[in-house]
Structure formats: structure tokens, C-alpha cells
Amino acid sequence: MNRKLRQRDLVVLASSASLALFLGACGGGSDDSSNSPSTSGTSSSSSAASGKPYVIAEISDLSGPVGVFDTPPYDGMKAYFDYLNSTGGVNGRPITTKASDAKGDVQTTLASFTQYSGQSDVIAITGLGLDTQMDPLLPKLASTGIAAISSPSSTTSGLPYNKWYFSFGEDYGGDVTATAQYLSEKDSSAKIGYVAFDSPATRSVASNLTKAVAGTGVSVVGKEFLPPTATDASQAISSLVHAGATWIAIGAATDPQFTSILQNAKVQNFDGNILAIAGGGEDSNFKLASTDKYKALRSFHSPSETNLPGVAKMVSEVDGAKPDKYYYSMGWALGEVIAKALTTCGSDCTRAGFRDALETTSFSDPYGLAASAIGFSDTCHQGFRSTFVYGWDGSKPVQEGSIDAYNKPPCGGS
């Protein structure tokens, strides 16, 4: 009896621990103190700017399944601040950053936000790459009087305008517009098989894409949502191929999922095209696909495109690192935006003043990283309005065009 009890105890213990670890891996909750915010400033290169620093707090998923998307924008933004600080900073003051790794967990995000918003030196929040993290924060932004600028993606509930919320990321509504517009022009009878990791945002994209293409001849013939921790997409791709998809549209996928999707498309002898809507536009993704049937939306130029003068200039100003992600360029451009708004805001800049400056400052894109003008207004808080489309020329990704995906009223257009 004792033996049986011991065995059962062990099994229950192990099962509980296994389940807890599994939930942890899914971002099911963590109060780990290692998630507490830490300062990672611009210590080595801030000698040229020696005043009291402007502090930007980053809350994003710097590790875990979506860490591959959220880390490059933060690295790019920090690198720009480093470069700027080495040339005198803003108004004689350096810009430093603090970062909290939310690991996809909403509670960690909220805790970090409470901590950062309570620190008087923090002037704005950046990151917040998942809508599940951003949505609960939207009402808190106004009550704490701090602006949040999300990247590399946005929440549709905060757009086109929320007083304290700014998007410098890929807006899922824009993704839908871009995809529908691209496919209706490229293949008016396209049958889309949509696959993405499971999140409210990707489900929303799939649903809205179905509505957006209705009546155009393009149709959505299948939708597959993978748990974020899943690494195998064989069944999903098999189902989409059997559903008659001629285009596989990848909404968003972790790196292992992305690889599995491409490999299983080959396994199933898929003869159609693949369009990466979000997150599949890196050079490594194109190399993996190695086919001209692979297309991807890329919101900013990649640091690898050093044939472009602006990109070459950015890369030359990066201290030490060798960036290769277009999300890094997005972060670099965001750094420019923040720095220019701080310049407008002045040396005694407040949180409210910084928010106002984001709306009133006229931004430029001196490095030419985006597909069209960047910046905000008092009616539109989407920071960029267009996206590039890239294809494969046999050896490298090449720009095939651009789409004004976000250029609709009140963000422009007609």
C-alpha cells in the first residue's frame, strides 16, 4: 500500500510539475524575479552626452517563441541611441533604456508597466509586441499619463487613434489590406490557405482577410492555427494543400514553425505560392525557401541591403554588432522618431510633453529605411503607412514593389 501511495505521489508530483512547466512554456504566468526590469543603458558610448538621461522603458518578449521578432527592434533602437549619445545626445542629454522581458506573459507585462510607470525618470514605454499585452494596457496609459509606442506589431484596438497609444509596428489591419491588395492584383483567383500561430490577432487577420477578399475572386479555403509552442506544421500544411490552396499565407510563425511550414510545403509537393504576411521577410527566411514562389511583406529595408546608401550609413554607424533583421531597421527608425520628439519636447521634457511632441513633430526618414513617410498626427497614430513586397532572385531577396497598406483615412489617402 505504501509503495502504491509513493508511486502515485510521484506520478502526481511529476504530472503537476510537468503541467506547470508546460504552462510556463506557453507563457501561462510567471512571477519570476528575473523578469523584473533591469537597466541596460548606453554606458560605453554616452560620454559625449553627459546630462541627466532621458529614459525609455522597453517591455517586450525578449526571449521565448516570439523573442526572435521582439528583440531586433529593441536592439536597433538601442543602437541608434548609442550612436546618438556618442554624437552629443539630445538637448545635451543621453537617451538610455530599461528593459523587461515579458516572455509573452500578460501579468509580467502589467507588473513591469506598473513598475516603470511609477518611475518618474521613465518618459515613455516601447515594445509591447503582442496585442494580448497591449490591449489590457490601453486604459492604463491615460490614467498614468505615459505614452506607449508598440513595435514590431500593433493592436488594432488602439488604431487609428488613441491619445496615449502610438504604433510603430505592423498593424494587423494593414496586414489584411496589404495581403488582399497584393493577391487581388497578383492572382485574382488565388485560393488562400492561412496558417499562423494561435493568437487573437492572427485569428482576427484570418477572419478579416476572408471578408476583405470577398467578391474579388480571391478566397480563403483553409485556416490553421498552431499552438505557439508547437514546432511541427505537417498536418496543418497537409490540410491546406488538400483544401486546394494555391497560396499559403503565413500570418505569423515562430522560427521552428516557419521552417516546418516551408519544409512541409516541399514534402506535400505544393506547387503554389507562399506569402509571408508578418515576420517572414528576413534574409534567412528567403534562403530557406529559395524559390521565386516565395514572397514576403517587409515593412522596412533589411540591414543586409547595403547597396542602399541609407542602409549602408546605418550599418556604418552601428557599434560592433552586425544586424541582419529588417525589424532592426524598424527599431533604428523608431529611435530616430523618439530622439526627434525629445528634441522638440526640450531639455525639461515631461511625459505629456513627449506625447504631444510625437503628434506635432515633423519626422523624416533620413536613412530611407521605410517604404513611405513616417510619423504621427493628431488623428493617426500609425507611424508608417506602407510596406515593401520582396521576392527571390535566385541568390537574394529583392524588392518587387510596395503597398500603401496603412494609407487610409485618417492616416492619409482618400
Binding site: 509513493r6 511529476a14 511541427d232 498536418q235 496543418a236 521552428p256 521552417t259 516541399k266 530557406l288
Partner: protein, 292 residues
């Protein structure tokens, strides 16, 4: 019908990897009564070691894999000697907690060392697959290789336990460690072999998994899906791990096909809960398992 057969075939392919992971849980549990929650990290280590051996060192694929298995097995030995052996005889929770802590430490080491970078494992076989007869489903070459490797591994491991002297000693030690010890079986040696074997199994699973996706820290999450497989098959049954892995793989794929791909995380744990309630010792496990 064709869809059903095709889905089952995909489930068997997935289950082959689960089986390789699950057997690692079983070998260690059978020998030492410890659940190794760092098993997934051994998978990740194995995959990264393989990449380094083949891509950086430049070893031929087969040699790189062989070196990887030896190194990962050695890591298993070191973990046992440094962390588990000092706790033998202590409360069962102690070594279990050690393995949970080890999983977090290894995660951090892997993250710091690799900076989260992911790599493609260069394989000598093209990814294209073959059609399942009677269906329109195709299974990748990597999946077929994983099935064959798992089958060979289980034949070897079963033969090892049945016919080799060390294997017999391990079975004797698992059955009654005190009696085995009195008969001259070195328990320390047996436990060391168990940890090394389990690490090798994890490395094989890690390489198989990485071949069809990427080498990334995320592949360790497969271990959390394979735990229900070990439990379903029976925590002290090597062949139960094979059966449990395949069944979990099939159940997961059927759920994904007929309920929705977003539900596939659910099914392994539904099976775990049912197994706990109905048959806690598993399909092929023995009713009485004692810690040694």
C-alpha cells in the same frame, strides 16, 4: 478514409520522436526513481552539439552525430555524478527538484551561449517525402528516418536490457536494488549508465526534431509533450514508452485534423489526466514501482 490513414501516418512520425524522448524519462525513472525534467534541455544540447560538430568542426554527418551522442552521453554522466548521486537516499522530491532547477540553468546557459540564434542542421537527405499508399498524404523523408531510427533504437535498447550483462544488472537493480547490490551489482555504475543512455536518447530525439524544423531552444518543449507518452506507456516500461509515444502522436494529429490544429496542445494532457485516473501505472507499466 484516406485522410484518416494519412493523419495516422503523420501521427506515427510525430510519435516516433515522442517515443525517443519518453524512453529517456523511463530509463532514468526505472533505474533511479527520478523524473528528469531537464530531459528537454538534453534534446536541445544534442541538437546544438550536432550543429557544431557538423557545421563548425566540419565532421561528416554520421561522424558528427556519433560525436554528438558521445558528448551528450558524457553530459548525462556528469549531471548524474555531480547533482544526482549526492542526493541518493534523500527524499524523492530532492532530486526531482534538482532536475527542475537544472532545466532552468541549462535553458539559461543555452540562451546565453547561443544568443537565441537558430540554425538549420545540414542533412544529407533532401526534405521531399513519399506518399502514403492509399492516401494523398505525404510524409517527409526526415519523418521516415525518425521512425526507422526510433525503431532501431528500441530494438537495440530492448536487446541491451534483455541480453547484455549490464542490461540484466539494470533490470535486477530496478527490481530490487538491495538484493542486486548484495549480488555484486554496482548500483553507482548502473545509475551512471542509465543517465548516459537517457541523454543519448534525448540527443537522438533532438537531432530528429531539429532535422524537420530548426535547431532552437524551442525544440525542448517536445519533452513536455512526451511526458504524457511516458506516463501512458508506463513509467517503468521501455516498450511502453514506444507505445505511448506513438499513441500520443496519433491522438495529437487526429485531434489536430478533426477538431482543430489549435487544440493539439490539449490532447496529450487530456490523455495524461485520464491515465492518472484510470491506469496510473500505464499500459505496459508494472503496478508497483519502488524508488531505490
Amino acid at each position: 478514409m484516406g485522410t484518416l490513414i494519412g493523419t495516422v501516418a503523420q501521427g506515427v512520425a510525430l510519435g516516433a520522436i515522442y517515443s525517443l524522448v519518453a524512453v529517456g524519462f523511463v530509463i532514468i525513472y526505472k533505474a533511479t526513481g527520478v523524473f528528469n525534467f531537464a530531459h528537454g534541455q538534453f534534446m536541445v544540447l544534442g541538437a546544438y552539439f550536432a550543429y557544431v560538430s557538423i557545421s563548425w568542426v566540419g565532421l561528416p554527418f554520421a561522424a558528427g552525430i556519433a560525436v554528438t551522442l558521445v558528448i551528450t552521453g558524457a553530459v548525462g554522466l556528469v549531471v548524474y555524478a555531480a547533482l544526482i548521486r549526492p542526493l541518493l537516499g534523500e527524499a524523492i522530491f530532492a532530486p526531482v527538484m534538482i532536475t527542475i532547477g537544472l532545466s532552468i540553468v541549462l535553458d539559461s546557459i543555452i540562451s546565453i551561449t547561443t544568443k537565441g540564434n537558430t540554425y538549420l542542421l545540414p542533412t544529407p537527405v533532401p526534405v521531399h517525402g513519399v506518399s502514403i499508399p492509399g492516401t494523398t498524404t505525404r510524409v517527409s523523408n526526415y519523418s521516415l528516418i525518425a521512425i526507422v531510427v526510433a525503431a532501431v533504437f528500441f530494438v537495440l535498447i530492448a536487446s541491451f536490457f534483455r541480453w547484455s550483462g549490464t542490461g540484466r544488472d539494470m533490470r535486477a537493480a530496478a527490481e530490487n536494488p538491495h538484493l542486486a547490490s548484495y549480488a555484486g551489482v554496482s548500483l553507482g555504475f548502473i545509475f551512471s549508465v542509465a543517465w548516459a543512455l537517457a541523454a543519448v536518447a534525448a540527443a537522438i530525439a533532438g537531432i530528429a526534431q531539429a532535422s524537420s524544423t530548426l535547431i532552437s531552444p524551442d525544440i525542448g518543449s517536445v519533452a513536455l509533450r512526451a511526458f504524457p507518452a511516458a506516463l501512458l506507456g508506463g513509467l517503468d516500461s521501455v516498450m511502453g514508452a514506444a507505445l505511448g509515444g506513438v499513441l500520443i502522436g496519433i491522438i495529437e494529429m487526429l485531434g489536430s485534423q478533426y477538431v482543430g490544429s489549435d487544440t493539439r496542445d490539449v490532447f496529450p494532457y487530456v490523455v495524461l489526466l485520464v491515465a492518472l485516473m484510470v491506469r496510473p501505472y500505464g499500459l505496459l507499466g508494472s503496478r508497483q514501482v519502488d524508488r531505490i
